[in-house]
Amino acid sequence: MDLRLRGSDPTPAERATVDLFLLSSGVSEQANGRAANTGHEARAHRHLLLPALHSLQDEIGWISEGALSYVCERLTVPPADAYGVASFYALFSLRPRPPLVAHVCDDIVCMKKGAEDIIATLQDKLGPESSEEGAATWLRSPCLGQCERAPALLWQRAGSDDRSHAPASSEAVGRLLADGLFDAPERGTAPQTETPRDPRLRLLRRIGLVDPTDLDDYRGHGGYSALRRAVRLGPEGIARELADSKLMGRGGAAFPIGAKWDAVAKAPVRPHYVICNADESEPGTFKDRILMEEDPFALIEAVTIAGYATGAERGYIYIRGEYPLATHRLEDAIAQARARGMLGGNVMGEDFVFDIELRRGAGAYICGEETALMNSIEGFRGEPRNKPPFPTQVGLFGKPTAINNVETLFNVLEVLAEGGPAFAGIGTKDSTGTKLFCLTGAIAKPGLYELEFGATLRELLDLAGGVTEGATIQAILLGGAAGTFIDTSDLDLPLTFEATRAASASLGSGVVHILDESSDISAVLLRIAAFMRDESCGQCVPCRVGTVRQEEALQRIVAGRKNASGQDDVALLADLVRVMSDASICGLGFTAGVAVKSALERGLLTPQGSNS
């Protein structure tokens, strides 16, 4: 490939940042720059593009043309291509930006918990959104995955680690801007792990008890016994246990994990890869974050088991870019596991090879879609691929790949601990095991909850102390922005895959968001519509344009304004929802209109502007 660069030079600091990153990634400096940097060897570095861009954003605070050009030269990537990748992600800035940036969540949970007050404070102290000058600026953000402690902020800091800030307040934000002192991150909230501790916990069994920074403490709490058992069973034995367990994926699609791993294990093409999908960006979801922050070694162990079972020697954990604490804990856990021989050339002395690489997303919900995630790791735009072929045959780098959600992988440890048939005895016939729920809104104790499948919504709410005192439920959003609304007549709905499906709803990522009489459902819907528009990758017409038209029509309906063309906007929305769910490429488009449709069906949005 003959690169033509525009001749903008990096600053010494930018060059040093990129050099340091590449050195740490094992890319050697070429004696004569580009000339030697061609051919297969050089192109094989494309997958380092995203982390290289991260290194610049982290250290310098933005990505200049000279810096991008230097990255292109070192990695042999055409600059237009690299620009296309960098401009895909919300956390990267391609224009100068102050070193401190507050990303303020104004999404479905935080909007009701004072997000606009915080925004008013920031506006007052720092001026309008996204200024290029000054010591700090602020930006609105979609859900930051800290919803149980809303309202939430993410402080992006050039030259220093990023910080989550939740619960935040106008006062705390004002104080922080004055003194520059960042508090230590707060722990996630899982009320069942507080005293008196719920004895039924499985996935959360170690949370709050184990030291997340200490491999020995993890082993002291039973850690790595599942891997030991896995090795004793061998890949086929693991496949049998998983098939018996009837464990289904928790990432949203409820696909049986046994079938997925088996397909990869048997795929003739080599090498195989495993990926843990830790991109958790569905508004209202924070379960994977708490698991990773509080019990990171368990994820390392589970991914290692995935590698062993599918014949992969390399695994990736793709974590969303807005999770600094979980990222830090996992980096540390991987380093400890390597140092102690739990990853590497002879894992646990059991004579198999496996290592894990941690990759950070950069602000793109769509990168949670499995094939978009793979493109993102490979250094391309996070655009989903058309399926078939499925990742079990053609996945990461075109090779057979098993990709699973964090919670799914935690369940694998349980399956191995108890045995597949015993695991299948938990929950219901078609939804086995336990499920994590992210409970927020008008509820006494918001937080992460674990319940056996089959428990009803009412039982979940009771566990959380019931609705906020004095509040009455108007509606419940199940499954997040891609989810559906239900109401109090559904309180006895068992929270299982089959029962929610029968009720035309879906558990999705486990979001249960309670809206009381004081909640503005129109505002929630408008936020969801804006979210879908912002997060569409833009590849296919139904979703790229459909999400825009959906937001416009919804705005008119909510404002009680007539469509200037005399169209019935409710019918227009129905047409849009249909083409998005029928003709899009991926799940984002399929579900982009689901929440709006369900709100209309439930009469939660009374169209005042319709002509009908």
Binding site: R381, C537, V541, P542, R549, A553, L572, A583
Partner: protein, 315 residues
């Protein structure tokens, strides 16, 4: 799929039998539903598909209904499977095709698409006006500056479009992205599928995604070598030779006065076929036939733009 794989000849292939609109059809293994439709003479609308480019299946106008599948499938890239039952004219298919054309025409200037595409837009009953009056065009550079994951607040009184000023930064061709449907064809032609120059790529995200050079630099500063292969594949007139653009601006472009003459490029020994569009005894545009085995429609700067020497015209 690599080009080599697509043009491989001589391999004996098994055939696959499927049913389309109630008619049984047999096609070679590895063929697409579109191939099978073509064999039956069923016309399928396409926008982002071109036989010489890797399918990106992005526009979704070619969708068909495959029995037992939850969602519609893009005919241009979905491989046939034995026993597949396909419907190309069901209500579901017609709805999606109508809506895709409608969403595009409501946001993009489609006035220069081919007569065939215009026919489809009409026959599927697309009504671009349903979404209200179009929003005013973006100012120079505004769309290029948009940040992923953020958009300005809308109130629904006008319909967003991609309208923006034309980019004229060189003497050979113009880029009028108000006409861009984001079919990815130019990017593919500039990249791996033909030119291997990689001067342009898709940048940004969602509705603000756009075709761009690095940091939206003018073409003259980019890697572009002016082969014009992007022009050759653009289905909407977003990319256009300056010669054609100027005539159109002056109101002098007149297809009734044009002839197309086929010849062979005289610059080198490769032997690329050229289609010269001539109006009033002057060459106004050069293309190469898609079916030509040497070029597959692609040329270089000399063949595409080097025609001044054959016509000694007063200014």
């Amino acid at each position: 799929m690599s080009r080599a794989a697509r043009f491989k000849l001589g391999v004996i292939k098994r055939t696959v039998e499927l049913t389309i609109d109630g008619v049984a059809v047999e096609v070679p293994e590895g063929a697409t539903i579109l191939d099978a439709c073509n064999k039956l003479g069923i016309v399928t609308p396409t926008l982002c598909y071109l036989s010489t480019l890797t399918p990106v299946n992005a526009c979704r106008v070619c969708v068909v209904e495959v029995e037992k599948a939850r969602v519609l499938a893009p005919a241009c890239s979905r491989k046939v499977e034995p026993g597949m039952v396909v419907h190309t004219d069901s209500e579901r298919v017609r709805h999606s095709r109508r809506m895709v054309f409608e969403l595009l025409s409501s946001s993009v200037d489609m006035s220069l698409v081919s007569g065939e595409v215009k026919g489809w837009i009409d026959s599927y009953g697309s009504d671009a006006a349903r979404y209200g009056p179009p929003a005013p065009p973006a100012k120079v550079g505004e769309r290029d500056a948009r940040h992923a994951g953020h958009h300005h607040a809308v109130d629904g009184s006008v319909a967003e479009t991609v309208a923006q000023p034309v980019k004229i930064d060189n003497d050979l061709y113009v880029r009028d992205y108000s006409r861009c449907i984001l079919c990815y064809k130019c990017v593919e032609a500039c990249g791996e599928d033909a030119q291997n120059t990689f001067a342009i790529a898709v940048a940004g995200r969602g509705f603000d995604a756009r075709i761009a050079t690095e940091f939206d630099a003018p073409l003259t500063d980019s890697a572009c070598v002016y082969c014009g292969n992007c022009i050759g594949v653009c289905p909407t007139g977003a990319l256009m030779p300056k010669s054609e653009y100027d005539l159109r601006q002056q109101g002098r472009w007149d297809e009734a006065r044009q002839t197309v003459t086929q010849t062979v490029c005289s610059f080198c020994g490769v032997g690329c076929n050229l289609d010269l569009t001539v109006q009033d005894n002057a060459i106004v545009r050069v293309d190469s036939p898609l079916e030509h085995s040497v070029t597959h429609g692609h040329l270089c700067i000399k063949g595409r733009f080097g025609f001044q020497h054959v016509q000694n015209l007063p200014d």
